[in-house]
């Protein structure tokens, strides 16, 4: 069935704001998150982690730990067969359990399972690891120097011709763009060129990673964990342990935040290995210290931006150079960063070069629009400075150069319908843009872009005997998506929202689903839900036709009922979904709709942010006075949750812009691995966050949905940076703009 847009978009339930199906559980303490699950006979696991930033692991002696009463299993690198592992997953294996070297402080070296936590902790102290300490590097620019210690002897920069003969920490070089930037700069009346740096931020989900794994003597296993993708967890954990995928069933618990940080495995394959060895269920939960040292964070970066424009504001050339460290393994999001760098602009001459760099830090994990905020910080700052130099309003300068329907994007594709212009116009007309500022205050504007993804998706919809609907999706709900799925199912079926119960099904109950990432869930699982509903409707029309004794194509579905299609079809009273469901046993058996799809047609999303700040001239502390998020949602299925995504993205961006950073000592160790010293925004740091939802429908989704989760974190670094720069009278070029940095800017 084609994915027809709903005629006239006359929605009945889409766009309403019902309560979420998991609401009661989450306000009463009944909801079960990762660490809330226990199994009979369960052991407690703990992971031994490297105290060194870079060292060769000469030997690991676990004999004393095994002798401790209550210790049931110890696993090390020897318990994973690297020879049998897909080369594409080798970095994942090395990250979950170090092999010949430890590559960062916090790198897992061994794990134990014991009868209780004190015994497990004691056992870790009895494991003897003989390290040969190696020189380390944690800074991205240092790591690129020829003199830097090399992490991987077999890393020769990809994307460079001819291929280098000397190993380095530069994993790859990427390039995007079109036109001739040098010719573009020749035409410019004004050119601004600057260097920027951003420190690494952690996703900062409040729930640490947690898993319970249980493998029986028959080799069949179950796992319960907090993850953004339980199918991914199943496939990787099974593979790294040499187990058939079908023998491992993974259930996703409620997830206490992810933001990209739970799109990979850390503990899960280790828990499975421990359980296999102990022949008992094993629970592993990270401490907050471990979360900071061994999971996440995002890349720190060096960003150079050069933009030239004519006196009327037309940009004639734009160049950028990005270097992102991805921790100890290749795969920083510099490629996506480079693609997003100039995506907001319609440019004739544009070039972006990116370098993926490895350093002795934890392997970076995706963080909300991975790679985009760092580059946007540089570009939006330079655009702001250009506006100053040209004497133009910063929104007008952006409107003059904004990407629109038909723009050939800086990374290749030609954009379809999108809402960037509308967000800019809404920003210009917003009351917050007209508030008069006081002393030490500044206003910042920035725009941002994110692709949004589709991907593999499977949905199953069972029509129950009483006319209620059981909707099973395979994408963990990290922000209220079950409510959105319920709304889309109810809309398509023509029934009430509270007749649909949406669950996140385990890996044995549905086809494969990609991870909840890329702002893909409301788009992809939503699209699949609509298709599954249409499949169920087709079957229900068939049952009605059978009962009425008329051809199937003579029945149509309207407002939750089967109707004879026109006078020629016969004169039968409409039959409700509940009527058809009740008789299903007599008309052919259970009725279910399905959809298995590789969802394409995800719609790009743009946002414009406005922020006013006040910088205390005595302390350098920045207070956010007003914040406004204006973003294109395509179609807001549940507007309250769309607002929530906008507000959450902005808050995370403000934290990154002003406070959050990984601080390393000369010894290569993280110095602020806790929420006291790694300070995310608290309630008293922020004002109310105003939101405006723009709706330019995405033609790739039956209801026009675009992903909304990630774009919101792209503009804040630039917006806050511009606001602080104006308040301080000095261009800020380093994130975070913490009080000491701002104070220095003020004092000069």
């Amino acid at each position: 069935m084609p994915l027809d847009a709903k005629p006239g978009m006359d929605f009945k339930v889409i766009g309403t704001r019902p309560v979420r199906p998991d609401g009661i559980d989450k306000v009463t303490g009944r909801a079960r998150f990762g660490a809330d699950f226990n199994m009979p006979g369960q052991l407690t696991g703990r992971v031994l982690r490297s105290p060194h930033a870079h060292a060769r692991v000469k030997s690991i002696d676990v004999s004393q730990a095994l002798k401790l009463q209550g210790v049931k299993a110890v696993v090390t690198r020897d318990d994973f067969n690297a020879d049998a592992v897909d080369p594409a997953l080798m970095d994942v294996l090395v990250n979950v359990m170090a092999r010949d070297k430890v590559l960062y402080e916090g790198h897992a070296v061994a794990a134990v399972a014991a009868v209780d936590a004190p015994t497990a902790r004691q056992a870790l102290k009895l494991i003897k690891v003989d390290y040969e300490i190696l020189p380390h590097v944690t800074d991205v620019e240092e790591a690129m120097k020829p003199s830097a210690p090399v992490l991987h002897a077999d890393m020769f920069t990809d994307g460079v011709e001819p291929r280098p003969t000397k190993a380095s920490n530069i994993a790859s070089r990427v390039e995007f763009g079109h036109g001739d930037v040098e010719a573009g700069f020749q035409q410019a009346d004004v050119i601004v060129e600057r260097e920027f740096r951003t420190e690494a931020a952690h996703q900062g989900y409040i729930e640490p990673h947690a898993v319970v794994a249980s493998m029986g003597a028959d080799g069949y296993a179950e796992m319960w964990c907090c993850t953004q993708g339980h199918f991914m967890v199943r496939n990787i954990s099974a593979h790294l342990n040499g187990v058939d995928v079908s023998k491992l069933r993974v259930t996703a618990s409620e997830i206490g935040g992810g933001f990209g940080g739970k799109t990979t495995v850390f503990l899960e394959p280790v828990a499975l290995a421990l359980s296999r060895k102990a022949n008992r269920p094993v629970k592993l939960v990270m401490t907050r210290d471990e979360v900071f040292r061994a999971s996440g964070p995002t890349s720190s970066s060096y960003v150079k931006v050069k933009i030239g424009a004519k006196k009327d504001g037309t940009i004639t050339g734009a160049y950028a150079e990005l270097a992102y460290q991805g921790g100890a393994f290749r795969g920083s999001p510099v490629d996506m960063g480079a693609m997003c760098t100039y995506a907001c602009y319609d440019l004739k001459n544009v070039q972006v070069v990116g370098y993926d760099v490895v350093v002795n830090r934890p392997k970076q994990a995706a963080y909300r629009a991975p790679g985009a905020p760092q580059a946007a910080f540089g570009v939006e700052s330079v655009i702001d400075e250009l506006a100053q130099k040209l004497g133009m309003d910063p929104i007008d300068l952006r409107l003059k150069n904004a990407a629109r329907d038909g723009t050939k994007s800086s990374y290749g594709p030609t954009f379809g319908p999108n809402g960037l212009i509308q967000t800019l116009e809404a920003a210009k007309n917003h009351p917050n843009y007209k508030v008069k500022l006081g002393p030490h205050q500044g206003r910042g504007v920035a725009v941002g872009f994110w692709f949004n993804f589709g991907g593999q998706t499977a949905v199953s919809m069972n029509v129950n005997i009483d006319g209620s609907i059981a909707l099973a999706v395979g994408t963990p709900d990290i922000g209220g998506s079950r409510a959105s799925m319920g709304l889309m199912a109810a809309e398509e079926l023509g029934i009430a929202y509270d007749k649909v119960r949406t669950i996140v099904a385990d890996t044995a109950s549905l086809g494969f689903n990609d991870v909840t990432e890329g702002s893909r869930v409301t788009f992809s699982s939503g699209l699949a839900t609509v298709q599954a509903a249409r499949d169920a409707i087709k079957k229900m029309c068939g049952r009605a036709a059978q009962m009425w004794g008329i051809p199937e194509d003579a029945v149509e579905w309207k407002d939750g009922h089967a109707h004879p299609a026109g006078a020629n079809a016969g004169n039968f009273p409409p039959m409700s979904l509940a009527d058809i469901a009740k008789d299903a046993g007599n008309t052919g058996g259970p009725i279910a709709g399905h959809c298995e799809v590789n969802a394409e047609g995800a719609g790009i999303s743009f946002a414009t942010h406005l922020v006013d700040v006040e910088v205390d001239p005595q302390t350098g502390r920045t207070q956010v006075l007003r914040y406004t998020v204006i973003q294109d949602a395509g179609k807001a299925i549940h507007p309250t949750y769309v607002e929530g995504q906008y507000q959450g993205g902005a808050a995370q961006g403000v934290g990154w812009a002003l406070n959050e950073e990984y601080i390393y000592g000369k010894d290569g160790r993280l110095q602020n691995a806790g929420f006291l010293d790694y300070r995310i925004p608290v309630c008293s740091d922020l004002p109310m966050i105003d939101t405006v939802i723009i709706e330019v429908p995405n033609p790739g989704h039956p209801y026009g949905v675009r992903g909304v989760g990630e774009t919101g974190i792209v503009p804040p670094l630039g917006a806050v940076g511009n606001a602080v720069s104006h308040a301080c009278g000095h261009r800020m070029t380093v994130v975070p703009m913490s009080p000491p940095r701002s104070l220095k800017a003020i004092k000069g």
Partner: protein
């Protein structure tokens, strides 16, 4: 290790348990009493996800030892609702969508209850500073603050009517 026997009152019911000297009140609630509403987000008193009310005082359960609970009156998120009737804070959190992932929610609810117990008519600023010990990474706090203010207003009205 010898265990310590403790008698306390949890959500109005007698709760007797044994624990190690090193176990926190949070460990006891979660692992010995099966009350997993309070969460361990940090274990160092920085995130507030384990907020409980101990003898009318808002505390992080991860910073209290289980053994210290002898004779104490403890309130957790599991005791907020009265049977099927949600506490106004719980209802307002759902209505305002003041939660996304929901892992910080039990701590926020307990902290907000403690606020309203102490100050039935808080300003937005008072709400923000009272809740500054509870971290939420999803919402940006906007809808949480609105839910607390709305619940406090409703409770004042109900008290006034009564």
């Amino acid at each position: 290790m010898s265990k310590i026997t403790v008698s306390a009152t949890v959500n109005g019911d007698a709760a007797d348990f044994v624990c190690d000297a090193t176990e926190t009140l949070l460990d006891v609630l979660r692992d010995r009493l099966g009350l997993t509403g309070a969460k361990e987000g940090c274990g160092t008193g920085d995130c507030g996800a384990c907020s409980v009310i101990l003898n009318d005082r808002l505390v992080c359960a991860c910073l209290v030892l289980g053994a210290e609970a002898q004779g104490a009156k403890i309130e957790t998120v599991e005791g907020l609702a009265n049977g099927e009737t949600l506490h106004p804070l719980q209802r307002k959190f759902i209505e305002h969508a003041a939660l996304q992932c929901g892992v910080c929610t039990p701590g926020f609810l307990v902290a907000a209850k403690s606020l309203i117990d102490h100050n039935p008519d808080p300003t937005e600023e008072q709400v923000r500073y009272w809740l500054a010990g509870n971290l939420c990474r999803c919402t940006g706090y906007d809808k949480i603050v609105r839910a607390v203010l709305d619940a406090a207003a409703e409770m004042r009205e109900a008290n006034h009517a009564a």
